[in-house]
Amino acid sequence: MAEKPRNKLEKHSQPRILSRVRWPETISLTLLGIIVLGSVFAPILAPYDPIQQSSNRLQDSSLLHLFGTDELGRDLLSRVMHGGQLTMSIAAGATLLAMVLGVAWGMIAAFLRGLPDEILMRLADSVMAIPQILLALVFISALGADPFNLAVIVGLLLTPTTARLVRSSVLAELEEDYFMAAIAFGSPRYRLLLVEVLPNIRGPLTVQTALNAANAILLEASLSFVGLGIAPPEATWGTLVQQGFQKIYQSVSYIIYPALLIFLVIWLLNVLADQLGGSNDLQGKKR
């Protein structure tokens, strides 16, 4: 170990990254991976059929039913795993939509400047002036809430914040030498944006993706919890918390496990965003 960093590699600061394992990042990625895999492969991994009823109603955790059972005797671990599938699909759809729209919105604003920029950013401001959850209510009452609509609605709500971030990141890049050089080469506009600028803002974009995913899960869970999101028989974690809330005096494990998972996933995504943001600052100090 002591000999190798002496050579050229040191300049690329590779040994430092190798020797310093970033624990918070690794741990949160691993845990997130387990939760995602558990949800994606729920049909194979779940111990019971999530709609199989039995006479063991509202039981607490036991070896037979790790998360207990619900009011119809269905195994809650299996329900949580299957619910995770829907939760994750909605969150993933929403995040993807927010990133695509947000990047387009922010880039157009930053690149055109002037009046279009003014209009686009005022629009973003006025969307952001309404608390997200209330705006979500407006959209839901207009569109209704099936999983697809919910993903679209949540995605739209996350777009303005993303657009703002993209705009300011792009504006900073426009000052850079490489960008001037690309203009001098005569690159067409789409090339300037997609090939030159986009790869250079991937740092902040990655952080924003993690934050958007966390927010998407939060919003969907809140909406399903108040009964305006996914309604039974379909269930996300938010729906399960809603159902557990009705039985809060009879069973603690009904509500606590789905709630815990929602918290855990959002928390891990936040930790991840923090870590990624921190490492970005170290790599490329812009100012």
Partner: protein, 308 residues
């Protein structure tokens, strides 16, 4: 003002241009209704007028303090809002007060030794509580204090005019929920400002002339650190106004938030659009006030600007 117009247009457009008919929803369960009645009801609710006219009627009404008529019950929207507003305001302000009571001591404590034990503890707590959805904070509090310990009632609201003690008793859990959810926002910001202020030359001067520790911290440092934190308070209020929607639902409080949720279930656009606009308006107003106050409270800001 421009912001308010944009916001109101946005809410209105989303509600009217997207599919779904409130009158048909309302009549959904009633048998034997013919097309004529539906037409008449639509006209009564003002839904047959051109969209521009509907919008202008709504906005013109707001200036007279008249938000229009609920599609579903006999109350006007203004009456409904006035009935529901006190609970929401009480919850919001108590919640923010609790957030301040948590954040200020914790933030100061954390800032005294950056990266010290206190700092690490508060950072860990604030990171966790930022990730904690408000309804889960509420559920945990209900589980502990209402279900297990049975110290406090879990749900409901009693107006203070009816019974002050009942009112306070039922307000504790929801307000603490809101406070816990909002505190990290303030805490993180206050901590950063405090660390910055404590490192500045005038603090060294104060210590140099023989001021004791707590005097320096409270009199010199905290007072200066609180001014920028005020900006955060505006943001916190906006955040709380969104948060009360969910918290009111968890604790069964009849406020603006549960009014909005009810309105969604019934597709009562008249109520929904006004409640959302009112909240957005409050938020914009608060941010504006904070911006103005900021200049008044911190003369350095003005001097700094003219120097460029």
């Amino acid at each position: 003002m421009g912001m308010l117009i944009a916001t109101s247009l946005l809410i209105f457009t989303v509600l009217r241009l997207l599919p779904g008919d409130p009158i048909i929803t309302r009549l959904g369960a009633t048998p034997g209704i013919d097309a004529e009645t539906i037409q008449r009801l639509r006209e009564e609710a003002g839904l047959e007028a051109p969209l521009v006219e509907q919008y202008l009627t709504w906005v013109a009404g707001i200036f007279r303090g008249d938000f229009g008529q609920s599609f579903f019950n006999q109350f006007s929207v203004t009456e409904l809002i006035i009935m529901r507003l006190p609970a929401t305001l009480q919850l919001t302000f108590t919640g923010i007060l609790i957030a301040i009571l948590i954040a200020v001591p914790a933030g100061v404590w954390a800032s005294l030794r950056p990266l010290g034990v206190a700092d690490r503890i508060t950072t860990a707590f604030s990171t966790a509580s930022i990730a904690m959805p408000q309804f889960i904070v509420g559920i945990v509090l209900i589980l502990v204090f209402a279900v297990q310990l049975q110290w406090l009632p879990a749900r409901g609201y009693v107006p203070p005019t009816e019974s002050l003690s009942d009112n306070i008793l039922r307000m504790i859990l929801p307000a603490v929920t809101l406070g816990i959810a909002g505190a990290p926002l303030l805490l993180r910001y206050l901590r950063a400002t405090m660390i910055e202020v404590l490192a500045s030359p005038y603090i060294r001067t104060a210590i140099g002339k023989g001021q004791t520790g707590s005097g320096v911290i409270i009199k010199h440092a905290l007072r200066n650190a609180l001014i920028p934190t005020l900006t955060m308070l505006g943001l916190l209020l906006g955040y709380s106004l969104g948060g009360v929607v969910i918290i009111e639902y968890v604790f069964g409080i009849p406020g603006l938030g549960s009014l909005a949720i009810d309105a969604v279930f019934k597709r009562d656009y008249a109520v929904l659009q006004s409640v959302v606009l009112l909240v957005a308006g409050l938020f914009i107003l608060v941010s504006l006030t904070v911006d103005l106050l900021y200049g008044v409270l911190d003369p350095r800001l003005r001097v700094g600007r003219s120097r460029g």
